[in-house]
Symmetry: C2
Subunit: 214 residues, 2 copies
């Protein structure tokens, strides 16, 4: 046999990306073989090389598109006004929403950077840094205007990123909480973490469930 009936390059390429994300997220990049990937797609391993020159370039494409999507998502969600509270609020919600919606590529992005060649790694880290810079700028604005009380902008940014990215480690969409509820709780935690002034216009107040005063 050779070309199969109904075969379509675009559809196959999309299927390869999706299957690769799933397999790499589950078993890891090194543990996924090209034969295994081919089987998941429903194609011989050799056919994969019509779409990607080699295995690492496939990984790089997946990582690059994840980062491009993340940056584009933030560009769309970023508020027009330069308000630290509103900006941080939007950042946290967008970050959690994006990553929960793309669990597979998020896992790959978090775990498989070490499998990239130095050149490709640099390219990804550059994108990641430009994204994280957005958060640092928000925090710096908030610290300067007095909206936030922050010890160290760099450390706080890393802490927030780790915290809100960590959602995907345990979150399952079909369980106790919806994405919105989780995002809401994480939003409240973030605001307390940065020492945000309690009352701020346009932001939903943290829903205190346990005992509290203030």
């Amino acid at each position: 046999m050779a070309r199969t009936t109904g075969s379509d390059g675009e559809r196959t390429e999309a299927a390869i990306r999706e299957a690769a994300l799933k397999l790499i997220a589950r078993h890891g990049y090194e543990a996924m073989s090209m034969r295994q990937l081919g089987e998941e797609v429903g194609v011989q391993a050799a056919a994969l090389y019509r779409y990607f020159p080699n295995k690492e370039e496939l990984l790089f494409t997946l990582l690059r598109e994840h980062m491009e999507g993340l940056i584009a998502s933030w560009d769309a969600a970023r508020p027009a006004a330069r308000d630290p509270f509103g900006s941080l609020s939007a950042f946290v919600r967008n970050h959690i929403g994006f990553h929960v919606a793309r669990r597979h590529s998020t896992h790959v992005s978090n775990l498989e950077l070490r499998s990239l060649s130095p050149a490709n790694l640099t390219a990804i880290l550059r994108m990641r840094n430009s994204y994280e810079k957005e958060l640092r700028q928000i925090l710096r604005d908030g610290a300067e205007t007095g909206a936030f009380a922050i010890d160290d902008v760099g450390l706080t940014a890393m802490a927030i990123i780790q915290m809100i990215t960590g959602v995907i480690v345990w979150f399952r969409p079909d369980e106790r909480l919806s994405v919105e509820e989780v995002a809401e709780t994480y939003h409240a935690m973030t605001m307390r973490l940065v020492g945000a002034a309690e009352i701020s216009a346009g932001a939903s107040p943290p829903a205190r469930r346990a005992t509290s005063e203030n």
Copy 2:
């Protein structure tokens, strides 16, 4: 040749563990070959099988000992008094100190669980859960006594764990900040995150430092 002069089983076994942690942390479990590990130790690959029955059992041993060490470390650091503030404080500092001191095994523990067989994975997750349960209990105590203001104990515990474990992703001991300074800042962030009452005995105040550059 065969047995080399000065060879010693115990020393070789320790060298294998250390080398394996280093190589797995850097390249990943799947990417590390037994020949590569042997070379790092200064031994033929076949000699490794005197100490570990196979590759996965080696990984499992490393993970198990990491978790045992973490739990033992917390047992030693846990305050006698049932004080939420003091307990949380000790938990954060111990967690960061332990993980920074063992970067390699921490990386392995965070990234390589997926390479374990189901039975071994269950054993590790059981240990991890019992450790995290300690934090949840502290948070629950604090919420009940009014020391903390917490929306959701489970979510807050995960957020804190992710945040303080994330230190090892970026922390380098020879740079700007010492472990103690980092732990201090993370401690302050954690306390704000859980809505700890502002004034509490025995807690050092957060050291305000100028905001860092991008």
